[in-house]
Subunit: 242 residues, 2 copies
DNA sequence: CCAAAAGTGTTAGATCTACACCCATGT
DNA sequence: ACATGGGTGTAGATCTAACACTTTTGG
């Protein structure tokens, strides 16, 4: 099935959705000591974009966000947080639409439904990088991780959405046990510290960090991890179950 | 003009608005050492509701929220914060609509546009109680302040919206200089402390509170306030201009 | 034995908490 | 004079930041 056939099929069902309302999700993962985001490139589009979608008439918005995520990552049970609505009147103008579309391949007229002004609800998700299978769908040419510090050209206000998501992530870092969603089952204290450092963007002191985290009583110390390196083997930890 | 004439006029213009998207505002004021909220009772409706409205096609959502507030309070320059979206599929079911409407006076069929499922963006506003003139409009039978601790029966999920607004208010209390929006130009340290105590719901120590607040260097001490009471006159303060 | 990284101790400073005391005001 | 409420001081506890030291590991 071609991209435009998919599109027409989608548009024919557009009454299923709430008009002019979309969801955009910032999916955070952590790998190689880098905070990463999953981005999409749609077929025939020039710019990268956040994975997003629409809300069905009889679907909770949280449910809609979750479905989008499950489709894009292959995971269920994802940590999701709604963080802000993006509703400037000019966020999806024809001009920014033009930038988004590959003008010579797609007739804007066919997109009447999509071309309207959209208000978008921003969610961020925290996932275990190692468990995700980035999954393009029929509209999507590619689906890749990007380092937060090295993002490609993005459509619309998606850069701003990402920045706000990061802000919220930082604010929630302490109160919401964010590590437990971004790290694999077991991890070293160093892994956790790197995660915090990359999210916060500041270096932390090893000893004080360890003391503080352990004092929260949320970690369980497992066996040591022997990497073969010529130094003391670090303990592995996992988050205690509630 | 009668309520239903107003309504028909409104509905005839409904294409001006984004469908199925609304705004609900929790307007906080502080008076008599009580945190209060401005609520409306629509003509011919049974329950009280948050002041709300719709978003015009070419209007920012923040702008829309601001207009609603200005109309209801007579104030401009209001402190506004978007705090959450309420998007459960069943938040505006026919059943809850029925509860909201005075069933024998209004035919639901006339409300097709309004009867759809709505997603609502929650804003909270902080206003100087003494400056507000609660202003009913043509749809509104009354517009009154209620103590947060003593709310009337509310429509839809408005009670939940208020609770979430309160939560956000508490979280933002320290970081966003909330006092400057809820208090009049000048106030005593006691006023400020009462405000904090009612928002947080916990008593604070007089001396420590004063020290902490003054250490922030955001207050300017003015002259003393002689109330005629048989005790030392408290200083008046005002927030320093940025 | 050594380098590298992990783990633990310790101490000075800042901040928070609770108590105490003094000061101004009108009766 | 004194009751009342406002302003300030201070000692102890707690939290934080920065430093130093010890332990484990493989070469």
């Amino acid at each position: 099935m071609s991209a435009s056939e998919d599109l027409f099929q989608f548009l024919s069902q557009k009454d299923r959705f709430i008009p002019q309302l979309s969801i955009d999700s910032v999916i955070f993962g952590f790998h190689d000591n880098q905070l990463k985001i999953l981005l999409l490139k749609m077929k025939g589009m020039k710019l990268w974009a956040l994975p997003g979608g629409y809300v069905e008439q009889h679907e909770d918005i949280d449910g809609a966000a979750l479905h989008i995520l499950e489709n894009r990552t292959g995971l269920s049970d994802i940590y999701l947080e709604q963080f802000r609505v993006f509703g400037k009147a000019d966020r999806t103008t024809k001009e920014s639409m033009q930038l988004f579309l590959e003008a010579n391949k797609v007739e804007m007229g066919e997109f009447q439904w999509m071309m309207k002004r959209f208000v978008s609800i921003g969610y961020y998700a925290l996932v275990d990088f190692s468990k995700v299978t980035p999954t393009p769908d029929h509209f999507t040419e590619s689906c890749e991780w990007f380092e937060v510090k090295n993002l490609p050209k993005l459509a619309f206000d998606h850069y701003e959405i990402i920045q706000k998501a990061l802000e919220s992530l930082r604010l929630n870092l302490d109160s919401k046990l964010i590590g437990s969603n971004l790290l694999p089952e077991t991890f070293t204290m160093n892994d956790l510290q790197s995660l915090y450092e990359t999210i916060l963007g500041t270096p932390l002191r090893r000893n004080n960090f360890q003391r503080k985290v352990l004092s929260l009583n949320i970690l369980e110390r497992i066996e040591k991890l022997y990497t073969g390196a010529a130094n003391k083997a670090p303990y592995l930890y996992k988050f205690k179950k509630a």
